[in-house]
């Protein structure tokens, strides 16, 4: 198993973000963590990346328990960071270097790559993400879409075997959203493990073949994206769809569940 959590609990000042969460994620799978705001998705990603540690329960990566003591060991920490990459929801927190080139080079340099290899790989990555023209710009002064692409490039340059994504298309215009999704679909190539936290149901089938629905720190549903998208009761209960209200020509006020995906909607 790639990741296994057992009775994992995490709270912020007595407010539970994850409660007794047990799940297993297989190597090579593309998993979507779906849930409304505050459902525990971001917390779970940070725990899977060894940035937070649960107050109770265990998390294992390839059978190794992820604990603070384990990360104090440089050899383990470097090995883990080489394999697992996390893209944060807010790209601003990921951009702290003086230029875009330095930003993308930051990770490989920390992990001890040779400087010639870093230069070559960073140039390739910037070309691939269509941001080579931004190489000398100051990252925190870019547009939202550009920042997101730089943030993605700064993690994908490491070519991690496991990619954790926190709302990769949040706050992006439609064109930037589709560019980001295309990049991720192209990058995954089937051999990588990708775990994406999202509440954007429209992209679900493109980015995942398994979907876990989180609500109040628990997994309340686990299945294929199409199966989850068909379960309107579940989606309404977990605040993933809202009732769309409109008035017909006859004057009758009518409402039905509304989901922003390519799925045909019931009623109407």
């Amino acid at each position: 198993m790639l990741f296994e959590t057992e009775r994992l609990t995490y709270s912020y000042d007595r407010i539970a973000a994850l409660a007794d969460l047990s799940l297993a994620i297989a190597e090579g799978s593309r998993v979507a963590l779906v849930g409304a705001n505050g459902s525990g998705k971001s917390t779970l990603l940070r725990i899977l990346d060894g940035l937070y540690f649960g107050q109770a329960g265990t998390v294992r990566f390839h059978g190794d328990e992820l604990t603070e003591a384990r990360f104090a060991d440089d050899a383990f920490a470097f090995s883990f960071r080489r394999q697992v990459g996390l893209v944060f929801q807010n790209p601003d927190v990921q951009l702290f270097n003086p230029t875009v080139f330095d930003e993308v080079a930051f990770g490989p340099l920390q992990l001890g790559w040779s400087k010639s290899e870093v230069r070559e790989r960073v140039s390739e990555t910037l070309e691939r993400f269509g941001i080579a023209h931004l190489a000398d710009r100051v990252p925190h002064r870019l547009s939202g879409g550009e920042k997101k692409r730089v943030a993605l490039a700064s993690v994908l340059v490491l070519d991690p075997a496991v990619l954790l994504l926190d709302e990769p298309t949040a706050a992006l215009d439609p064109r930037s959203q589709s560019q980001v999704i295309d990049l991720l679909v192209e990058w995954g190539g089937g051999a990588k493990s990708v775990i994406t936290a999202t509440h954007n149901l429209a992209d679900l089938e493109d980015i995942a073949d398994r979907c876990l629905v989180l609500d109040g720190g628990h997994v309340v549903a686990d299945g294929a994206p199409a199966e989850i998208l068909r379960d309107r009761d579940l989606l309404e209960r977990t605040n993933l769809v809202h009732a769309h209200r409109h008035r017909h020509r006859s004057g009758e006020l009518h409402s039905h569940p509304h989901v922003h995906s390519g799925d045909p909607e019931p009623g109407g």
Binding site: L51, F88, V93, Q94, P98, D102, Q110, S154, V155
Partner: protein
């Protein structure tokens, strides 16, 4: 609002100026850190006013040769340092016992020669040290300063704290700027002074907590990409002939300053 704009402008000015092609920009970051710090030390140890004035003049010359404008130095350093130090130095003018130099007519307060000397030393030392420190910031990319500190054996923890502090300050300014803009968009007309002060105090706690949270996330994002406290950069530090010459020049000037000012 204007203060926040100025703070952001200062941070961005420093980034632009550090990549300009002046004298100090061409030197190795380690030479600048050691050289300029040794001049600060010489100014701090000097017991003769003309030596401090000479070091201050040297700092101004270095600024001119490094394309750091005097307008920037005046607005960003000299006026601020003068105001802060003045608050401490002005009472010394009147309170230090000694030979009367001037009597303020209406207040009947006496400025003493000793008080004037004490205030002058304090203000000149602060202005000189602040100018030299700003020259490092304005002529060296921040990450290079951090790497130079590590090369000079400054502990990892301190360098990591400095690195985070710079990002924290920038985030604090950006967040504050957004908060005040959002408030301005919802307010009509000018608010009374007392109301403005009350709102500023109420915002301060929220602002600090939001920035702290963001800053924590920045640190996590650095850790997530393998950061363990050590700074690794693409640029190698390599001492050229000009760097050795500059280092020797700084060492000679600082030694001369310490000797002449003893």
């Amino acid at each position: 609002m204007e203060g926040l704009h100025e703070g952001l402008a200062l941070a961005l000015d420093a980034e632009n100026s550090a990549s300009a092609g002046g004298l100090l920009q061409q030197l190795d970051a380690r030479v600048k850190v050691v050289g300029l710090f040794s001049l600060v030390l010489a100014a701090a140890l000097a017991k003769r006013l003309w030596v401090i004035v000479a070091i201050f003049a040297l700092a101004c010359l270095l600024a001119a040769l490094s394309r750091v404008s005097f307008r920037v130095l005046a607005t960003r350093v000299w006026i601020g340092a003068l105001a802060f130090t003045g608050a401490i130095a002005v009472p010394a003018l009147f309170l230090t016992p000694g030979v009367a130099l001037y009597r303020v007519p209406a207040l009947h307060w006496t400025i003493t020669a000793q008080g004037f000397a004490t205030a002058s030393y304090l203000m000149l030392r602060v202005e000189t040290a602040a100018t030299l420190a700003l020259l490092i910031e304005f002529t060296t990319p921040w990450m290079h300063v951090l790497k130079a500190l590590r090369v000079l054996r400054v502990p990892v923890v301190l360098v990591a704290i400095l690195g985070m502090a710079s990002r924290y300050i920038l985030l604090l300014l950006e967040t504050a700027h957004e908060m005040f803009e959002s408030r301005k968009s919802r307010a009509v007309g000018a608010l009374a002074g007392a109301t403005r002060r009350r709102m500023a105090v109420a915002s301060a706690g929220v602002l600090l907590s939001r920035t702290l949270e963001l800053s924590g996330d920045v640190y996590l994002a650095m850790q997530a990409r393998g950061f363990r406290g050590e700074v690794h950069l693409l640029d190698d530090f390599a001492m050229k002939r000009s760097d050795w010459l500059a280092l020797a020049g700084f060492a000679a000037l600082a030694a001369a300053g310490v000797w002449a000012g003893r």
